[in-house]
Amino acid sequence: MATDSAAVLDGDRLEVAKARHPLAEAAGMFFRNHTAVAGLVTLAIIVVGSLVGPYVYTVDPYEMVWAPFSEPGADGFVFGTDYLGRDLFAGVVNGGRVTLAVGLSAALLSVFIGVSIGALSGYYRGWVEEALMRITEFFQVLPTLLFSMVLVALFGASLAMVTFAIGIVSWTAVARVTRSEFLRLREMEYVTSSRSSGARDLGLMLIVILPNALPPIVVQAALMVGSAILFEAGLSFLGLSDPNVVSWGQIIGSNRPYILDAGWTVALPGFFIFVTVLAISLVGDGLNDALNPKLRER
């Protein structure tokens, strides 16, 4: 009986949902997904912590404050100290910002490149598509880590360069997703209809087609932030990060030689990277379920 009324209620809610903006509908869908909400909450805590943390916990992460390799909890340092005697907790609190910023801007860069290339090739077809897809394939077959290592090694390990190096190697997936959406949507009647009412190509791409193509691109972009963070950590682990700016990856990288003796110096920032990327993946999956009409049936 209780389940019956719940079903009816759910049915009613569906009816109501029908009359709303598609985005509102997707948002409702997202917030009914518990794992996605858990991911979102975790992510929110991490983001807020990284933004506010440095003002609350004001220890300078660059300053040597104690003896090196003090274990977590000992001597009043929650996360202990690293090989130079710097407060690891201060490092984690301050590093979050940089890690997130690098992840976000690298993802934005790759989304920008990917959407531009995918949109142009899917919309114009013909030789434009051929040329752009060959370029995409070129970037796809490049060993990404190696290529970005070369870039950073050549042009210096500044934060901007690391971001650029990550963005430039990871846009191919976005380009492919965007292209396939454009290929599908350009045949829709409302596109022909807009064209027959005098819309220009740029308007058709940006105003008519792109909003309809966004759902899979948004999902891809969300997942991209996670992989960009991992990428930054990977580069840092290999020592290719800005040594003057503390990030989670940079902490791991600089403490790498002591991983056997002082495992926590690597494990703690690694744990934060893991949780952040996991949270982003959960949010990305939730977005995928909410925005993908085929999965919505379930």
Binding site: A19, P22, G126, E189, S197
Partner: protein
């Protein structure tokens, strides 16, 4: 009603559009010549794949390319050849002087914008209206296509409207800039019969009000009889018969036209009357590969076929007046 001979508003002259296929290029429109006077109504009739929609796209300058291209002839709109016009100029014409409504009202509206936004968009593009003025005009247009509570409905998304409502919105978009020609590509095929009648009434009323010439593309001879003054029957990219609607319906010359008319069910005064058999045209429209051959392309399906039909292409011949047909063995007498 417009006078004949006053210089047509739109004139297709030997228009040929070719498609590149694996077996070489084929003419999907084969030396097509059609005149349309200002304010007139023209029916473009034929089965699917006969080139009706391609004719519409050609007039709009929207032939998909590749595989299509203009291969000859001209499209004169107010004495200007549209096949030679620049893209920018064509964009000015589209939606402004010539506009089009499509078959599927379900998919012809962009799902992510409200209908008010979509009408306003066209107005802002062509009429230099501000955001506010365009919106107000959009609401007026919704009112003029008989959408109830237009001020509120303008905020609706397409999925909140019924098929008939959406087609009204499409008509509002198409007529937003008071075009001189409206091309309606099977505007009611996807709608209920009662809604069909409403849409046609609306189109008629708007035509009388605005003086817009209408090209109605359909396969339904009943619709043609209802809506148009003149009919062009197309088959395999060619015009096979042309004339005033009354002549064509009462005395079709081409066997294909006869077939089209015979395949429309008629209502009988007496329900108890034995219904006439519906005649179908045997066979199917030829494949693209056969288009453009120097013979009568209808021959394989024709009851009156002779050897001449298979070896020689019939040209349009008149039997007096404006009624012309491309057939070696035209039929006389009522359908």
């Amino acid at each position: 009603m417009s006078e004949p001979h006053s210089g047509p508003l739109l004139s297709l002259r030997d228009l040929t559009v070719e498609f590149a296929t694996r077996d070489g290029t084929v003419p999907v429109l084969d030396r097509l010549s059609i005149d349309l006077d200002a304010g007139a109504t023209l029916g473009l009739v034929g089965e699917s794949g006969c080139g009706k929609s391609m004719t519409a796209l050609a007039i709009m300058g929207l032939v998909p390319s590749p595989p299509g291209r203009f291969a000859g002839g001209s499209i004169l709109f107010a004495d200007e050849d549209l096949t030679r016009a620049s893209d920018a100029h064509l964009r000015d014409i589209r939606g402004n002087s010539i506009s089009m409504i499509f078959q599927e009202p379900m998919t012809s509206l962009n799902p992510v914008y409200t209908i008010g936004e979509q009408i306003a968009e066209v107005l802002r593009r062509h009429q230099d209206l501000g955001r506010r003025a365009a919106w107000e005009r959009a609401v007026e247009l919704l009112d003029s296509v008989s959408i109830p509570l237009p001020g509120r409905r303008a905020h609706d998304y397409p999925h909140q409207l019924s098929g008939g409502m959406r087609q009204r919105v499409m008509i509002a978009i198409a007529l937003a800039c008071r075009p001189r020609i409206l091309i309606a590509d099977e505007p009611t095929t996807a709608l209920d019969v009662t809604v069909q009648a409403q849409i046609f009434d609306l189109l008629q009323a708007l035509r009388e009000e605005t003086g817009t010439a209408i090209i109605l593309i359909t396969h339904d001879m009943g619709v043609v009889a209802e809506m148009t003054e003149r009919v062009v029957v197309m088959y395999a990219g060619r015009m096979v018969e042309e004339g005033p609607v009354r002549d064509i319906l009462s005395e079709p010359h081409h066997p294909y036209t006869r077939g089209l008319i015979a395949s429309v069910p008629h209502l009988h005064a007496e329900v108890s009357d034995e219904p006439e058999d519906l005649l179908e045209i045997p066979g199917i429209v030829p494949s693209l590969a056969e288009f453009g051959q120097e013979r009568c392309l209808f021959a394989p399906r024709c009851p009156r076929v002779s050897d001449r039909c298979r070896s020689e292409q019939p040209l349009l011949r008149g039997s007096g007046g404006w009624h012309k047909a491309a057939c070696w063995h035209p039929e006389a007498g009522p359908a």
